[in-house]
Symmetry: D2
Subunit: 372 residues, 4 copies
């Protein structure tokens, strides 16, 4: 349990460093019989790929995925799916400065304290490139969820003080704007804001949001594995996320119960909620409304402006971080949130299959597994 495994039945294990030979993921528990090819995964990796516009890092990586196992004649076999992405654009340069100094806001110091030393090239395991494995696995989770009638969609909600306007929401825009904002007007403002920050050698933060529609009611477990608790772990595990909200999130703490409760009502023989302050989860279990997760992302800690810090010999020094880095993480992290949400939900749905005697009996008596 050293932290690189997530999920129970749909279980992923990621590996790889920024400047090592490759990164990847093993998915153990992908159900058998899913049509799967590299293009299914590449589509998602391309959304987090660097070097796509001037508001992302200039490091240019193709991030081509290779399926190494678990797929036969175009379908998953039920055995582990191993996915590999080679690093190709590591720049060989002098890392001696970064090797010995602790960059503010980064994990350099904490890795050294934990492990005694670290792979300092490009941040090593704590680099954003670590998320390649998450996205590759999440692409598969998303494909399975789609087959179950569920759509997972994440986007940029705000960048610095510039927020999208829900009234201008265009789902298509998420994949087309440079900021991954679903609102072209806000996108334009945000780009201007970013350019200004870049000029000042600074970086900015933002908020990403993920909406899941089509989730049946009844998914999730009480107590510690509440669906919202696992979604919070999933979202907070993405580097630079410092707060997670479900539904109306932080707003609820200043409300009265009469304002915040969502009344149930009937809609064509279905139980629905008149409002959705809860964000689709009650008592840790999905209630059939859209699930809404929001994650607050800190400004990229790497900035070109000079900063005060210390080195690993205990000297106070000034550093000016060179190299390639994003002035904002959010636009490329949006797909990571989407993928982590999908993985978490799919795992909960798989767990749910055995929570009732009647479904267990139906399955074993009717599915052809048993002739008894």
């Amino acid at each position: 349990m050293a932290g690189s495994t997530f999920g129970n039945l749909f279980r992923i294990t990621t590996w790889g460093e920024s400047h090592g030979p490759a990164l990847g993921v093993v998915i153990d528990g992908c159900p058998a019989g899913l049509a799967l090819e590299e293009a299914d995964i590449q589509r998602y990796l391309d959304r987090r790929r660097p070097g796509q516009s001037k508001i992302t890092t200039s490091r240019s990586e193709a991030d081509q995925v290779e399926i190494l196992s678990g797929v036969f004649e175009g379908r998953s076999t039920g055995t582990p799916v191993s996915l590999l992405v080679r690093n190709t654009a590591q720049i060989s340069r002098d890392y001696s400065e970064i090797a010995s100094c602790y960059r503010p806001g980064h994990a350099d110091y904490t890795f050294d304290r934990k492990y005694g030393f670290r792979d300092y090239r490009g941040g090593g395991r704590s680099s954003g490139r670590e998320t390649i494995g998450r996205v590759a696995a999440g692409a598969i989770a998303c494909k399975i969820l789609k087959r179950l009638g569920i759509e997972v969609c994440a986007y940029t909600r705000s960048i610095g003080p510039i927020a999208m306007d829900p009234a201008r929401f265009e789902a298509d825009a998420v994949l087309k704007t440079r900021t991954a904002m679903p609102d072209r007007e806000a996108d334009a403002q945000a780009v201007a804001y970013l350019e200004e920050a870049i000029k000042r050698l600074d970086s900015v933060g933002g908020v990403m949001e993920c909406r899941v529609s089509g989730v049946p009611a009844g998914i999730g477990d009480p107590v510690f594995c509440k669906l919202d608790a696992l979604l919070a772990q999933a979202a907070m595990s993405i580097g630079a996320v410092k707060a997670v909200e479900i539904g109306d999130g932080t707003s609820v703490s200043a409300r009265y119960g009469s304002e915040n409760n969502d009344p149930f009502r009937m809609e064509q023989d279905r139980v629905v909620k008149a409002t959705n302050h809860a964000g689709g989860i009650l008592g840790g279990i999905s209630d059939g409304s859209d699930i809404l997760v929001r994650a607050h992302v800190k400004p990229t800690p790497s900035i070109y402006a000079p900063q005060q810090t210390v080195d690993n010999s205990g000297h106070e020094i000034d550093i000016q971080i060179k190299g390639r880095h994003d002035p904002i993480i959010v636009p490329r992290a949006v797909v990571v949130l989407e993928c982590m949400t999908a993985i978490t939900l799919l795992d909960a749905m798989m767990t749910n299959l055995c929570c009732r005697m009647d479904s267990l009996e139906t399955f074993y008596r009717a599915s052809g597994f048993s002739e008894v």
Copy 2:
């Protein structure tokens, strides 16, 4: 994996319903040799005990804990510690109304969809009484952490719009004010605010905060088991929590990197941070500063005012919830946040023991485990 187990090496499993015979917890992995008696645990249970003032439920339970295993001659033996609390104040009454209707904001509907039926008496497993097991286990975690020089302290930060003033912080007040606010002036205002809400048959929300001091740098794992990710799961798993923040939390998303980065500097041969926007965690690993977790709690969904809802036959109905319930959850939930934080941190510290070859070698060569 039905959700009632938390932790890996310090692993707790809770059980019990609001109106069943008893509730409890099994702690597997409590290190051997800890002085432990029922009073150590009772002290924490008393902080979440109901019926203590007019701003809590009138259900009066002694919540006396009994140690059933794992302790011998006053010390933990290393084998499972089983703790039991009998329910004594269940009121026998007619539950037929609640049995068939879905209370807004509660888990009635979602439990029915998941399990097919539910123990509706007092909310069953989704009742706040479920947290008895967490607090009993957390009392032990806190005692161990204290032995390691670590203090975990949670308190009420705000109730509705009434927030504590950090300038008036008094640690002692947490255990003495009715609101668990560490600021007697804010407490008085909050109580007035609450009384007003009670009069209007309404309920209110609030924010709780937990500060951990004395944590060494280097605790936590990268990627999915980041210390903040596990703290987020821990906090979000507490009923009614809808948002979790680490350090400056939601504020970071509107900042520039130059504002948000905490510069490192030296203080008497120790690396410290000049500020602590990060809340004591960088890259998922503790950095030696205080850890700060904040949880936003929704208003109690049970209110005396009439509400619209549906019953389990699909009829739209009006309900008016009777019975005993808290107008606000926060003051009694503060100790739950403290306990969940302690359990999460202790588990991470135990995991950390084997992350380096040198510590593994030192242990097995020097500890008397090996004579080789």
Copy 3:
């Protein structure tokens, strides 16, 4: 992960010591909707109850089970089922001798080395009474398996050199003979053999066997969680078991492939095997034939005859073990093997529900979980 939890989806956590106030188990993941009452569990506990004949310990315990949670109006609710058995016949006596000495064949020395000290009364956690929790949980697993058309039946195969004769197998006899042998003639011989050993202040070993019929083909996972690998863990985890065999077990190593392979053939549109050397498992997955597990049990280490050993101060001493103990463990352990086998199989069957896309889709599209 301190060892007292077993299973993933049907997960049990046991606790309790020989001379503590009580022992018990928490079952997390029991499917909702199972008719369940204390009598279902008591029936199994009675089979391992001490004091029933002169070939078992004279300690007489009622071992009455109490259901503390997870059952409402006679049915499991899907939340944790907590089961409690109070110890009532602890004899207060002087344990000073056993406290300081290391009994040969027992865990006294190893517990002291691991934990630094131990609860020495009656063996503490390493006592056979530890299996109460396993049997209580296993009773539930067996009841569920029966609903799925599966029978689990364990019995004594041999005691010392006295083996049952398969030609004389009577299923009823298992519950009626003192040795739990399904062969009355062998039972009589075994009792005579045991009486002889008791006279000589000695103890004896034996072999237990468990047969599972009605298991559908396709249960189990490849690689590390092969069904036989988990059954081996389950059986070997029972105190005093020193060898586990599946199907023909140790015999296979001296055979030719042409002898050992089980030919497949058709029987009324079903694939069956002409023989069952494999014991119902191929490649770690059930093949539809009966599953056969065998466990070899060492003689009870507690004997009345004098033995050489050392004490915890490093002195070589002679001891003569007093107190109450079984001259053979097997007859009372048979139900433990039955229960561990049932728990292992049920957990594997629950896991299996999500191994195919088609079953996942059928479930979520047809079960009423989703209206999409």
Copy 4:
């Protein structure tokens, strides 16, 4: 939890099929600071490499390992170590016969029942090539254990009826004889026996044994995670193993307690056992003596002689298996048993670090992790 992950703190996840592009393993939890290079791992892979003599399959694979992550400047970093071995000698041929038929003794039928279809080329995931990941990970575990003073050594104990003679034991011979027997005389006999079986188009079984020396007393957990229970799972999870013994194993069931108990005695201030019937484990915890595990392996199910079976359309057919396969599995599986034993033991030793308050306190107060 689809079965390809093993271990808790030293956790391995294997992947890959016989005829896919590659096989490999991810090790999460390898302690930081271990000197590690590909040669360390290659040495172990070479011991299970095919095509080395006429008594192994003629498939010739280099099985060259590549380290893809987790190692920096020659030392492990504490982050996941990903190891890759490309398949290079897959022969493109017509698999249509094997695709539709169920070979006796193989997992063809059970995979089809579980997953609905299978990768039939060379057995897919159920091929012996699956063990490449185990051996690669085990090489690292062995290297760590050596640093802790522990030696793990497996060898062939018998092949068919030909057993090694302990009096002729030569440790060196294990790596030099074709059978991996540590007795050159028995090796010669076994080879003759094998050649005879090959001529008759048949296969044979055998027994492998693993001895671990230098293990400190006190390793392992009571109840379900007993060291012997986990070793049994580990050994039984190796394809074709049908029985596992610890210490004297099956012999103990016919003994008296007075014969089977190992008396403790003192040897230069150390507690030792006069005999070691127990195989180094008492109550699931190591006792300081050598640990002894024995695994019985069935004859290779693939034989060239004709066999009766059925196809996946339910027709009874005769098959004659072509292709390349080993007439005996044991000589190449010995290193797999060695590796699985090492992984299991190392994981238990890492878990053990936190079982006492005093070691927890020592570590955090003395190690430089805390300045408090």
